[in-house]
Symmetry: C2
Subunit: 341 residues, 2 copies
């Protein structure tokens, strides 16, 4: 138990209390290759317990030259997509005894670059970029910054493609998943689709759009329209309103680039008096928990987001690492896209 001192006990205090040297105390309490005689070990441990010692992590980090933290970047932690990824990261970090710091980028590449730069100061063990990246101006700086950070000893892991020498990556087969989804829906009889996408150049959106197009066209369908916004619920609402204003023929399939977008669209379509399932069909991507709870249930592609986060963490800390392991997306057909007859 701790004494009532107002300042935390240091290793020095423990050493004095136990009547041993600083070196010995360190070896006992904070791990070392060296062995310490049982009698000494006990004395040190007792002293540490008595004084309520906890190692100062910052001091440890400066002395060791590396800190036990993983820096996680997400676009928005309140977004269920990122929240689930974060949960996976947190689980893995906990297993490995690492701390995770979290930064929100708001999908702004400049901000992201700035934050990565700032986080360099932590000399983290690893950096996980879950914020979806764009192939855009500004990204080069990020890439350079990441390379610099990687050279300094932090392992960098990104979601999505782009593994190079500096960056490991956990890839979600957005294109393949979207292709499979579109194929299944074409199979169900849908022939025209409207896509509510994010801006061109945003990797995740581009891939899903490409895959969807491939699959849908191969199945005999036609993409009637592509509307551009972002990954938010609001974007889903707004794009749906735009589409409504232009007119949506009954039997059309609306594909939201993510579940969040699709659910935004759901609201807008419904409040315009359109009925999902009978009049229009709707599909999303990700299979966030809400997709199961809305009515009608939302057809989507299940992405094992928690697992993605966990794998990203492993990629950040494991020495050897197999790039290719597959994540297994899965098309989930629900009532928002009934068989069309």
């Amino acid at each position: 138990m701790s004494t009532e001192s107002t300042t935390a006990p240091t290793l020095q205090d423990i050493a004095r209390e136990a009547g041993v040297s600083l070196a010995t105390a360190s070896r006992v309490l904070n791990g070392s290759t060296r062995t310490v005689a049982e009698s000494y070990r006990e004395r040190v441990e007792a002293a540490a317990a008595r004084l309520g010692y906890t190692a100062n992590l910052s001091a440890q980090a400066t002395a060791r030259g590396t800190s036990a933290v993983i820096a996680l970047f997400v676009a928005d932690i309140a977004d269920p997509y990122f929240a689930q990824v974060a949960a996976g990261v947190a689980r893995g970090a906990d297993e490995a005894g690492l701390l995770v710091t979290i930064s929100t980028t708001g999908r702004d590449p400049e901000r992201e670059t700035r934050l990565v730069r700032a986080v360099r100061g932590q000399r983290p063990r690893g950096i996980i970029l879950a914020a979806s990246r764009a192939d855009r101006p500004g990204t080069d700086l990020l890439r350079a910054e990441l390379a610099a950070v990687a050279r300094l000893g932090s392992r960098v892991v990104a979601l999505g493609p782009g593994a190079d020498d500096d960056v490991r990556s956990v890839v979600i087969d957005n294109r393949g998943g979207a292709r499979a989804l579109a194929g299944a829906l074409a199979q169900r009889g849908y022939r025209t689709a409207i896509v509510l996408a994010a801006a061109e150049g945003v990797r995740t959106s581009d891939d899903r759009l490409a895959g969807f197009t491939e699959g849908f066209v191969a199945g005999g369908g036609r993409i009637e329209r592509i509307l551009r916004g972002d990954f938010s619920r609001d974007s889903g609402r707004q794009l749906a309103d735009v589409a409504l204003a232009a007119g949506i023929a009954p039997g059309t399939l609306v594909f939201g680039i993510s579940d969040v977008v699709a659910i935004g669209a759901l609201t807008a379509l419904r409040s315009a008096g359109r009925e999902i399932g009978t009049d229009l069909a709707l599909a999303g991507f990700d299979d966030i928990p809400t997709s199961r709870d809305v009515t009608p249930g939302l057809t989507t592609v299940r992405v094992p987001l928690e697992e993605v986060g966990y794998r990203a963490l492993r990629a950040a800390i494991d020495e050897e690492w197999a790039a290719g392991e597959d994540l297994g997306l899965e098309v989930v057909l629900r009532e928002s896209t009934p068989e069309r007859r």
Copy 2:
């Protein structure tokens, strides 16, 4: 721009490059009360830019004796409740130039105690406990641990009551909110209710239950049954199944202790063939985004969760602090509890 060295430039390097002393470099780059002549300042800044210097935060923390981090504890980051709180914390931390580390407790008091203990090693500026606490054995240890941490200089902030000398707190008026909700529903004509609660002793659940009971009884209603589980969606499903097995009379109001629970119940009730809105009524608490997206829309009490997180952060870092400021919960009536006639 950075050179291609494999080791990060230190302040020493900058000082050498600029031809000034370590002290001067430190004063220029990392803030100080002392002024430095313009000519020196420029040289140092140029050198820092040339070498791509970023201060080593751990070293800074050891030297200063305090680190620029806030430790946030949540039960489960994937839960929208906590995700939103975390977003508020992240926003505030960003404004203040602080890093936030996140730990998930899984609502286990022992684990929470262990984690708080571990986090002491960070010597964080503040600790925010969002994980809902129970009045339970195990909590005393937590309390002691928190007091110790507070004495060591970290400000401790808890969600929910319990402010004492060591702990500031952001309080959500769960009881009042639930009372208002129950009153409004009694007003709408509901007379019997089943409550899907968490375990007894869990503060948030107890308060909501108490408030709901007060309000409902005052309005002429009767609590027919209280079922105990936890705050998860699964708990909602299971408890609803239990209730169904025992029989739920038409016109009964089912109150989930949180929206997540209510939404779990929604699924179970629906798949048992019960219709929400006409046959049964359903209400929750929190107003998570999903509550608006389900059909019928879920009646609930809006808790400004992001704001809660933000305030918790301010409480952690502001010198002066007004305990009482009110958060303004708001009853949100939606179609899951239509006027009963």
